[in-house]
């Protein structure tokens, strides 16, 4: 069926705003960022081309190196732990527990909270003089120590705890949908075969849930790259620079430290890293699609 000129026009005019936003905001802003990273802009943007000078400075910057180090630790631990905890929660709920709806809502609830609120809550919980450590000591466990958040070498793990707490509910919801998709008769067949429950999960169900794991992992990964508010709200990068993350590095240099050149160089590095990770994955997906 051929669309009339009129309806094609209206279709185009409906798409136009989105198209403009896409062109100007994404492509335009990205190109501008990349260009700025090749200049010596400080507080105000300028066009003095300095080649890769900003990148050299970036690699020599302790704070940046710590940020990258932290995001790698955070990314690996956060994604794997959130997948694990979310899956275990889903399995627990899948045992046909009572009040399933209520429990599911409770687990999903943290996800509806912003990172700022999550960060503040956990900052308080992990604070040695106010939170868990304090409560344990007041119960008589005098030797109880839980002061990760004030120790530089462990502060990043506190971000992981808060992040996992927040995201596990979402993973649970995705996994639960996957588990519910498993044919009841497979469970019956496994029972007749005499397989223990954990064995069914490990050898039969998990291999069936590749799509659920992939979906959850992709969603979680986007959260890793964006990690900013949690760091700001919980530790503000501290103690010292112990829990700095790349996105915070960019924001701080852009607005507080008035170093547009360095900030955009950091942003561009993040972009290239993401592309380097995502491109092979997309290529693999496309190839797989062809083979099918």
């Amino acid at each position: 069926m051929r669309l009339s000129l009129n309806s094609r026009l209206s279709a185009i005019s409906a798409l136009l705003p989105a198209l403009l936003v896409m062109l100007v905001v994404y492509i335009g802003a990205t190109s501008w960022t990349v260009w700025m990273s090749l200049t010596n802009s400080r507080m105000l943007p300028n066009n003095n081309f300095v080649g890769l000078r900003q990148y050299e400075m970036l690699l020599g910057n302790d704070r940046w190196i710590t940020s990258v180090h932290n995001i790698v630790i955070y990314g690996l631990l956060f994604v794997s732990l959130a997948l694990l905890v979310g899956f275990l929660l889903a399995v627990a709920i899948d045992q046909r527990v009572r009040a399933e709806d209520t429990i599911r809502s409770i687990f999903l609830y943290p996800y509806s909270m912003s990172f700022v609120v999550t960060g503040l809550v956990w900052q308080w919980l992990l604070n040695p003089t106010l939170g868990i450590q304090h409560v344990l000591r007041s119960w008589g466990f005098e030797g109880a120590t839980f002061d990760w958040i004030v120790r530089p070498e462990t502060a990043i793990y506190c971000l992981v705890i808060a992040g996992v707490w927040q995201a596990s509910g979402l993973v649970m919801a995705i996994m639960l949908a996957g588990l519910r998709g498993v044919d009841d008769e497979i469970w019956k067949a496994a029972r007749v075969d005499g397989l223990p429950k954990w064995r069914v999960y490990v050898s039969i169900i998990i291999p069936m849930m590749g799509a659920s794991f992939a979906t959850a992992a992709v969603l979680l990964s986007t959260g890793v790259v964006r990690l900013y508010d949690l760091s700001v709200a919980m530790t503000n990068g501290g103690p010292g620079i112990a829990s700095e993350v790349p996105a915070k590095f960019v924001m701080d240099h852009l607005f507080e430290r008035a170093n547009i050149g360095l900030a955009t160089a950091a942003a561009t590095t993040m972009l290239i890293t993401v592309i380097a990770v995502v491109a092979p994955y997309l290529y693999w997906r496309a190839r797989k699609g062809e083979v099918r």
């Binding site: 497979i186 075969d193 005499g194």
Partner: protein, 361 residues
């Protein structure tokens, strides 16, 4: 291979307030092929799952091979089961699907290999052993599922509508295969279906169920020829049995009166002394015969529709009192719509039912 009998005594099963089975008794002999036949929701799967130990019973006992297994785990009951949706483990090869249960149970490797090889050869799966279920056709998948059951060397094999996801031709093929398997293994098999052709072709005995109650438990021939009530009569047989309402009349001989027509019941095996009461006459389409108009037992009817069915023709007629019935005739029947035919209802082939209770008279 051992063959176990199955003994079910006053079994009760319910879900919440719903009672699905109540005081059900059933005995299945060793090496017997028993088919549970009935409409959707009558409790066939429930009964089969109870035998397998997949649902809890509320009361009664289940014995397999002389052992009380009412509260035993499925794996300890000496049973194997095949499901409607195949229920294969999707990410495992055919070989692993068949061997996984044995591996987990700690069966020695060479024994597993021997059993898998044997089952694969029996089911013509040898060349497919390294494929995944997603790389198989529906019929092949179900053969794998049967293979997975066979390697358990169980005393009783349970089938829950194993063929109903397949198309007609595959169903016919696999039906033959299952029958051959039963003949070869001599194992006890309990087979659930709502397809009466499967039931009639496979079974040693059929249990026709309705509303959680076994209505009739008999050989296929008995079920077909002498249904104990109107439900069994109408559920089994295709095209369906004809029912003609009327009245029993005792004179010099017992007869059935439907309007102006009179059918002699001389030769009908009454279960009890007949009375002059309203009744329903049942007759299968293939038992109605054409006859000459001067035959005293002839009933005349008008042809309303002719359905050629290949090997024969189904002719739909209407009696003078407007009761409709169908009968089968050779494919070369020279019958046209509007013709008037004279037919005969042979007493030996009839079934008579009480009008109110529906029980066979």
């Amino acid at each position: 291979m051992q063959k176990s009998n199955v003994d079910i005594r006053s079994l009760q099963i319910g879900f919440g307030g719903l009672k699905v089975l109540e005081n059900l008794d059933l005995h299945v002999g060793a090496s017997e092929f028993l088919v549970l036949l009935g409409p959707s929701g009558c409790g066939k799967s429930t009964l089969l799952n109870a035998i397998a130990g997949l649902i809890d019973v509320r009361g009664g006992e289940i014995h397999v091979g002389g052992r009380d297994v009412t509260w035993a785990e499925p794996k300890d009951r000496g049973i194997a089961m095949v499901f409607q949706s195949y229920a294969l483990y999707p990410r495992m090869s055919v070989r692993r699907n068949m061997s996984f249960g044995l591996t987990v149970a700690g069966t020695p490797r060479d024994e597993i290999e021997r059993r898998v090889g044997e089952a694969a050869q029996m089911l013509r799966l040898t060349s497919l052993l390294d494929r995944r279920p997603s790389e198989l056709s529906g019929g092949q998948r179900q053969r794998v599922a049967i293979g997975r059951a066979l390697v358990r060397h169980a005393g009783v094999y349970l089938f829950d509508e194993p063929l109903s996801n397949l198309d007609a031709q595959l169903r016919a093929e696999l039906r033959v295969e299952i029958k051959r398997l039963h003949a070869r293994l001599g194992a006890t098999m309990i087979y659930v279906t709502h397809d009466q052709i499967e039931a009639l072709t496979l079974a040693d005995r059929i249990a026709v169920m309705q509303g959680g109650v076994i209505q009739q438990l008999d050989t296929p021939k008995k079920i077909y020829r002498e249904p104990v009530n109107r439900f069994v009569a109408s559920f089994v047989g295709s095209p369906a049995m004809n029912f003609i309402p009327g009245q029993l009349a005792r004179g010099s001989e017992v007869a059935f009166i439907a309007g102006v027509n009179r059918v002699s019941l001389n030769g009908y095996a009454f279960r009890s002394q007949p009375t002059d009461a309203p009744a329903v006459l049942g007759i299968r389409p293939e038992h109605i015969e054409l006859t000459a108009s001067n035959d005293p037992s002839a009933v005349s009817a008008r042809v309303e529709m002719v359905e050629p069915m290949g090997a024969d023709t189904l002719i739909w007629c209407r009696l003078a009192d407007s009761t409709a019935f169908s009968f089968r005739h050779d494919a070369d029947a020279q019958v046209r719509v509007g013709d008037t035919l004279n037919v005969r209802f042979p007493a030996e082939a009839l079934s008579l039912f009480d009008e109110t209770s529906g029980q066979r008279l």
